[in-house]
């Protein structure tokens, strides 16, 4: 601590502008550096728990800690406006959206043993290798570089607003259009899924016993068949299927109801509509 005091004292006395002449060192951290390090440890630990925990809702809650820690880091870097935007958008809305998503997809509340996939160790190897390479390169490149955090804040709201609305107006407007497009896209995606789930083909599919919301594997094979056979209807369509679909539907329905009924749905919807 005495070293830090001495370093800060010399830093304040010597108005150094060139980084090489700074009387800084690895072993004499300033108060801001110590705070940054501690908050960074908390942030990194929360991020690690986020990607490794088996409880899905806890992952979202630890993500709040990580993102809040990052907001504190922005404050320590004198970027106030970014810090508050981070708190508002990430902690306020993105995590809430993620929690909504977790609950709407009926995520298990307790520990789910299959939260991680089987290639966990390959992923760990890739991540550790990338971390080692990145940290080594970054430390080697910026070993003797210091930021000057004294003076007026580099990211206060006035500075950020001035630069954003003087130099970055066109990207800003383009971004607003993009946000509008994303909003409309999200609404369209949700609405289409809703309309499809209430449309008649899904009902007839549900009559065969496999409702689309049941997460059994039979449903997946059905989806696979429907997708692959819907891709090229001409190839799958044997003439007998086209001629009399009902004749083919009936005997095979007992054996595998989802398989052969499906191409008729896909291939001649007009016929089905007429029959209905």
């Amino acid at each position: 601590m005495t070293l830090a005091a001495i370093a800060s004292a010399t830093a304040t006395t010597a108005p150094a502008t060139v980084a090489a002449t700074h009387p800084h060192g690895f072993l004499s951290p300033t108060g801001a550096e110590i705070a940054f390090l501690l908050v960074g440890l908390v942030t990194f630990g929360a991020a690690l728990v986020t990607v490794t925990t088996k409880q899905l809702v806890h992952a979202a809650l630890w993500l709040v800690v990580a993102l809040g820690g990052l907001a504190v880091e922005y404050l320590l870097l004198t970027a106030e406006f970014i810090a508050w935007v981070q708190v508002l958008i990430y902690v306020g809305s993105v995590v809430v959206l993620l929690l909504f998503g977790l609950m709407l997809t009926k995520a298990p509340i307790g520990r789910s043993p299959d939260a991680d996939s089987g290639n966990r160790w390959a992923a760990l190897a890739v991540a550790v290798a990338a971390a080692a390479a990145l940290v080594w390169v970054v430390v080697d490149a910026f070993r003797a570089t210091w930021m000057d955090l004294d003076g007026p804040a580099a990211g206060s709201t006035a500075v950020t607003g001035a630069s954003l609305f003087q130099n970055w107006v066109l990207p800003f407007e383009a971004l607003s259009v993009l946000l509008l497009a994303a909003l409309v896209g999200a609404i369209v995606l949700s609405r289409k899924a809703k309309a499809e789930s209430s449309s008649p083909p899904v009902n007839s599919r549900g009559a065969t016993g496999s409702s689309p919301s049941v997460p059994d594997s039979r449903n997946h094979t059905f989806g696979r068949n429907g997708r692959s056979q819907g891709n090229d209807p001409t190839e799958r369509n044997t003439p007998s299927q086209l001629k009399n679909p009902t004749e083919l539907k009936n005997p095979t329905e007992l054996k595998n109801p989802t398989k052969l009924k499906n191409p008729t749905e896909h291939n001649n919807p007009t016929e089905q509509k007429g029959a209905r």
């Binding site: 980084a19 800084h24 940054f36 960074g40 990194f44 986020t50 990607v51 993500l63 990052l70 922005y74 870097l77 970027a79 970014i82 981070q86 958008i89 990430y90 809305s93 993105v94 993620l98 909504f100 998503g101 995520a107 299959d114 089987g118 992923a123 991540a127 990338a130 990145l134 970054v138 570089t145 210091w146 000057d148 955090l149 580099a154 990211g155 630069s163 954003l164 130099n167 970055w168 990207p171 971004l175 993009l178 946000l179 994303a182 909003l183 999200a186 995606l189 899924a193 689309p212 049941v214 059994d216 594997s217 449903n219 997946h220 997708r227 056979q229 891709n231 090229d232 989802t258 398989k259």
Partner: protein
């Protein structure tokens, strides 16, 4: 402040996000990991913007402007991504990305749902192989 601190923290957070994207099975957890990676990039942008605005006397504040754009695009991305995940969940009954293998090149044999395929799925592997070769 030493520039290495935010840079190293950013690199570590990014690699944590990489691990999450590669290792997680639930699609929403993958989205969370993507958010971690985006935040790592944001931290890097802010740190280098603060550094350059003093040493290089850069008044454009491109790093902070880009950070704001990244945050907005991340919000849009999470909205669209959750809409897609919910649509997939409604259609398939799962948001497990290991089971969404419709566009896989070869038909999987070691998947968790391979045991249920044998009931009515003796034909689809041959059919898909024929489609792949055609």
């Amino acid at each position: 402040m030493h520039l290495v601190y935010p840079a190293v923290l950013s690199a570590l957070l990014f690699c944590t996000g990489i691990y999450g994207v590669l290792a997680r099975r639930n699609a929403i957890l993958v989205l969370m990991s993507v958010e971690l990676m985006l935040n790592a990039v944001n931290l890097n942008l802010v740190a280098f913007d603060v550094w350059l605005s003093r040493t290089a006397d850069e008044k454009l504040h491109s790093g902070q402007a880009l950070t704001l754009f990244t945050i907005a695009i991340a919000a849009a991305e999470i909205g669209i991504g959750l809409a897609i995940v919910l649509a997939v969940y409604r259609g398939r009954g799962t948001s497990d990305i290991d089971k969404l293998r419709d566009t896989a090149e070869g038909y999987e044999t070691d998947g968790p749902d391979s045991d249920a395929v044998d009931g009515d799925g003796t034909e689809p592997p041959a059919a898909e192989k024929a489609e792949a070769t055609a």
